[in-house]
Structure formats: C-alpha cells, structure tokens
Assembly symmetry: C2
Homo-oligomer: 111 residues x 2
C-alpha cells in the first residue's frame, strides 16, 4: 500500500501522542480499537471522506498509536496497546475510561 512508518514509542513525545488523541475522529478510532480487535480499513465507519480517514490513520500510525498490516489490497489496523502502556503508563486507561470524551462515534460497517 505504502511505505508505512511505525516508530519506536520510546522516542515518541507525549505532546505528539496527546495531539493525535485530541481529534474526535482519531479518538473515536482509538476507542473502537481499544478492545484489542484488529479492524480492516474499509470496515471503519467514520463520518469523513476516505482520503481524510486515511490521513487520520496516518497520524495515529506516526504517533505510534496504531500499527497497520497489509494483506493484498486490504489493510488491517490495531492499537499498539502494550507499547503505549509501556511508554505512557496509565494514559490510555484514563483516556478510554472517560465518558463524554468528545470522540466521534466510529462504527463498523456491516457487510
């Protein structure tokens, strides 16, 4: 698909991660993935154009929050939960446990 960057979270700065999480669509995606599931790109039901969604996923990826795996023409995304928890202990837990977070409601397209 493309040369994807999956940075080492050890070098990732907190400000970068916070910026990545401060957008409703991106936060919604993180919430959706927070059950540990791996989702196919096209499965993501976000209220934005495909190009915009691609951009958001790129931001999450380069902030070290998600990992993308290509398989043929498809690609699958999942949350780098363990890496994040190692680098920023407690951050994801507190973010995910917050109600009324301002996150967009990202669903899964039913086939």
């Amino acid at each position: 698909m493309s040369k994807q960057v999956h940075p080492d979270l050890g070098a990732t700065q907190l400000t970068t991660v916070l910026a990545a999480l401060s957008n409703p669509v991106r936060l919604g995606i993180v919430r959706l993935l927070s059950d540990g599931s791996e989702r196919q790109w096209g499965e993501l039901d976000a209220p934005v154009a495909p190009s915009t969604l691609s951009k958001h996923l790129q931001v999450l990826r380069s902030a070290g929050l998600t990992r993308t795996r290509d398989e043929g023409t498809r690609c699958y995304v999942h949350l780098r939960r363990e890496d994040i928890d190692n680098r920023f202990p407690g951050l994801l837990d507190s973010v995910l446990s917050t109600a009324g977070s301002g996150a967009a409601d990202i669903g899964v397209k039913r086939p």
Copy 2:
C-alpha cells in the same frame, strides 16, 4: 485584568483538554504548577513573548485546567488538580509521570 472564564469541568470534553496539553509550553506550565503551588504570572519564565504566554494561559484556563486569581495588578495561577482528577481520573497523573514528554522547560524567574 479581564473577564476570565473558568468553566465547569463537568462539561469539558476530553479532546479539549488533550489539545490544551499537546503544546510544549502549556504542558511545561502544567508541569511547573503540578506541585500545587500558586505562581504569579510574571514569575513564569517561558521562552515566548508575554502576549503569547498570555494566550497559552488563556487556553489552559478555558480548557478548565488552571484557575487565575487577580490581586491588584498581579495575577496568580494554579492547577485545578482536584477538579481535573474528578473529571478525568488518572489522566494528569499519567501525563505528569511521563519523562521526555516534549514539554518546554518552564522555570521561575529569580528576583
């Protein structure tokens, strides 16, 4: 000084708070205030012009993170630690405990 807004954190969205914290200068200020101290505006030694600092403090204030108290021509800032912990349990702790956070080093001017 000015009509200052100190919103109820109950209505504050997580995305707003994360955005406020995702700037190095603002994160640095939060870190400085995290010991619970109240600092005078002019005491803050930030690497930006006064007008810019004023703007950053306004962002922190309207995100509900700090409270400002006027006293004569001076004003004092402190972190709304308890309110934040109530609304976003664990968030501040994890943010503050992160080393290499990308925060600017905000000091205190020595008289």
